[in-house]
Structure formats: C-alpha cells, structure tokens
C-alpha cells in the first residue's frame, strides 16, 4: 500500500513535527510562566504590557501570525528561517493561552501557604520555588496537556510556509501521486492521533510524579456520569 520511499518521507515528516513541537513547547512553557507571573505582578506597567501580548496572540489566529512573521517581518528587516518562524509563532501563541493556566493555578494555591511562607521569612524567589509552584504545578498539568495537543495540531500550519513537516509530506506525496490519497491522509491522521496519545500519556506520568508527597488528592479527570 505504501512503498519504502513514501514511508521514509512520512518518517522524516513525523520527525520534523516532533522536533518542532519540542522546541516550541520549550518557548511556550517559558512564555506561559513569564506571562502568568506578569499577570499577577503588582506593577501596573508590566500587567499592561502582558495584556497586550495575550490579547494580540489570542485575538488573531496562529496561521495569520505565522504568515505575518514569515512574510511580512522580513520587510522591516527581521528575517527568520521557516523553522524559527514556526517556533516563535507556536511558542508565543501557546504562551498566550498558557498564561491563564499558570495564573489560575497559582491563585488556586490556598492563601495560607503564601502567608506561611512570608512569616517564615522566605524571599519572593524562595516562596515561588519551594512553596507555591510545587503545589500549583499539579493543577496546571491537565490544562497544560490540552495546550500541548493544541500546539501539536498547530504545527501542521508550518507546512504552509515550506517547512517539510508531516502535513507538508502529505501534500507533496499527494501531488506526486505515489500513494492513494485515502491511505495517505488516513495514515497521517493516525500518526497525529498517536502523537497526541503520547502527549496525554506523558502528562499523566508527570501528574503522578508531581503530586507525590503533596497532601492533595489527584485531580479527577473525568467525573463519571
């Protein structure tokens, strides 16, 4: 059904999709934390700048951002490679949604924890690192997992700016006519689905890891009807 060359192309495409996802996740996670903390900042200026960032990236779609960064930015002197443009767009885009996840989880940590940390004379950094974050991270993980899947799905957009990811290989193979489109696109959908399942599995593991030793019940994923 699929010969060797076709499989090779699909493997290459999958590998690029995975690499792009991983690098964009790094940026996206960093931006989520930064932006989430900025939204809780006592300084008005920082909150305002953050508001603009979040509204801008949530107000437009990833594909428009990608085209703007790849095709329009070079005209004002900022040229990025297709891969870099993909990473920047997807990472910043994820950060704008992750911002709310981080903020919500931090606010959900009981107030007494912060007060106790203050009374123990911990510095701001120490309060965050040793008290607030370890507890907030457990609440963050389920929505964070959803963001990762959204990011994985959004990587398909980079095929439109000439990057040869999985979606690009699919289009290329279709145009070459080397495989039946039915088999080809079904395979691609299944590959994305399997990657998404992998992400879900990893997030579950992380949840188990981070909730160890904490005096809280594991978050219930699905209430049974």
């Amino acid at each position: 059904m699929l010969d060797g060359d076709v499989i090779q192309s699909l493997v290459n495409g999958t590998w690029l999709t995975i690499r792009l996802t991983l690098v964009a996740v790094l940026l996206g996670t960093g931006m989520s934390i930064l932006s989430g903390l900025a939204s809780l900042s006592p300084w008005r200026g920082i909150r305002a700048v953050n508001r603009v960032y979040v509204d801008f990236f949530r107000g437009t779609s990833a594909i428009v951002q990608l085209f703007w960064i790849f095709f329009a930015l070079p005209l004002v002197g900022i040229s990025l490679s297709a891969f870099a443009a993909g990473v920047v767009t997807l990472g910043l885009n994820m950060g704008s949604y992750g911002s709310e996840v981080v903020r919500g989880a931090i606010l959900a940590v009981p107030k007494g924890q912060m007060e106790a940390a203050v009374s123990l004379n911990l510095s701001t950094m120490q309060r965050m690192r040793h008290v607030i974050f370890p507890q907030a991270i457990v609440a963050m993980l389920p929505p964070y997992g959803n963001l990762l899947i959204e990011l994985l799905k959004a990587t398909a957009l980079v095929s439109l700016i000439t990057l040869s990811d999985l979606a690009f290989e699919a289009q290329k193979l279709r145009e070459l006519g080397v495989a039946s489109t039915t088999v080809l696109f079904s395979t691609i959908l299944v590959i994305y689905f399997v990657l998404a399942l992998g992400i879900t599995g990893l997030v579950r593991l992380a949840e188990r890891f981070f909730s160890r030793g904490l005096d809280i019940r594991r978050t219930v994923r699905r209430p049974t009807p």
Partner: protein, 219 residues
C-alpha cells in the same frame, strides 16, 4: 528604522480584504450551525445506554479533537471525492470547521448536561416522561443556558481558524492577503491588515462573551 509602509497602497487593498472577511464570516456561520447541532448530538450519543453507540462516538470525538484541522480539511477535500462525495471548496471547508469544533462543543454540552442534578432525571422517570421528553423538556433547557458563554468562546475560535480554508483554495480573508502579496510583492500591508481585521472582530466578540459570562454568573 525606515518601515516601508505605504498608506495609499494599504487603503487600496482594503475593499478586496473586506470581500475576504465576508467569506470568512460566512464560513464561520455555516461552521457554527454545524458545530452547535452536531456537538449536541455527540454529547447525547456519548450518554447513550448502548455501548455500541457511546464508545464509537467517544472515540470519534477524541480522534477529531487530537488531529489537526488542516489535515482534516485535506482529508475532506482530497479523499471524499474518491468515494463520490463532492462539495465545492467553501462547503467542504465550512463542514470541516463545523465537524472539528463539534468535537469541542460536545465537551461543553457534556459539562452542561452533567451539571443538571441527578434528581431532575429521577423526577422525569417518576413523572413517567419518555426519553425524548426528558431530554427536550427537562434536561436540555437547564443544561444549555449555562454553557452559552463557553460556546461563545468556540465561536470566536472557529472564526480564527477559518483562514485554514485558504489551504483548500477558498478565497477568504487570508487568501486575499496571499493573492495581493504574490501579485504586488508587497506583503507587509496585506498581512498586517489581515491581522488587524481579525483583531477588530475577535476582540469585541470576546468582550461580549465575557459580559455574557458575568451576566449569567449573576443570574
């Protein structure tokens, strides 16, 4: 830094872009109609007593939600014709958008349905209401109003995903931008204006949804 922005050119291309915006909005509207109805069907089917219904529907919802809309659009556009099902690009795109978001709205409806107290179901049984009456007269009228803001957020998300239709040749807002960019070799103005137009619709829309949320929270 000298930014090569040409106002005259920018104003010239606005009418073309607005034509594209109209198509984007139309695709969104068709998509919304599909997502609202199909999502509810999915949500109700997942609660079916027969596992032969609830399991496959659950799988379909998970599958659609975990795979990229772009590939789903390609699938509809390039694969369905192999089976003799053929729509034009616009309709294919709108259907794809609708089905993709139906997977999301079904989760929203599900949350709403689960929010209806168990006693309501039991009372319906006690009153000897049939399954259809229980759904349409007791459960849904209580479930749906609470989830309207959440549905509103997905309406905005659909609007923002509509430019993906350009990948299957629909001439919507982004595609108008692409055409202008390749015709004139000027890309800064069209793509910037495309972004501005998206913001111009989605920011007021999300403010409206937030207001709706607050009003429902008070009621």
């Amino acid at each position: 830094m000298n930014i090569p922005w040409d106002w005259e050119f920018a104003i010239d291309i606005i009418p073309d872009l607005l034509d594209g915006l109209v198509v984007t909005v139309q695709a969104t509207l068709v998509g919304i109609s599909i997502a609202m109805v199909l999502g509810l069907v999915f949500a109700m089917a997942r609660r079916s007593q027969s596992m032969l219904v609830s399991r496959p529907v659950g799988f379909i919802v998970e599958f659609v939600r975990s795979t990229p809309l772009l590939i789903q659009l390609y699938f509809l556009y390039f694969v369905l014709p192999n089976f003799g099902i053929r729509f034009d690009a616009f309709l294919t795109g709108a259907i794809g958008l609708g089905v993709h978001y139906a997977a999301y709205t079904s989760e929203v409806y599900r949350a709403g349905i689960e929010g209806v107290p168990r006693g309501q179901w039991e009372a319906s049984t006690a009153l000897n209401l049939g399954r259809a009456d229980t759904w349409t007269r007791v459960v849904l009228p209580q479930a749906i109003p609470n989830v309207i803001p959440a549905l509103g957020n997905y309406v905005i998300a659909m609007f923002k995903d509509a430019p993906l239709l350009s990948a299957i040749t629909v001439v919507e807002l982004l595609q108008e931008g692409n055409i202008i960019c390749s015709r004139t070799y000027r890309c800064l103005e069209p793509y910037t204006l495309v972004g501005v137009m998206f913001l111009a619709v989605s920011i007021p829309a999300s403010i409206m949804v937030r207001r709706l949320e607050r009003r429902l929270a008070r009621a």
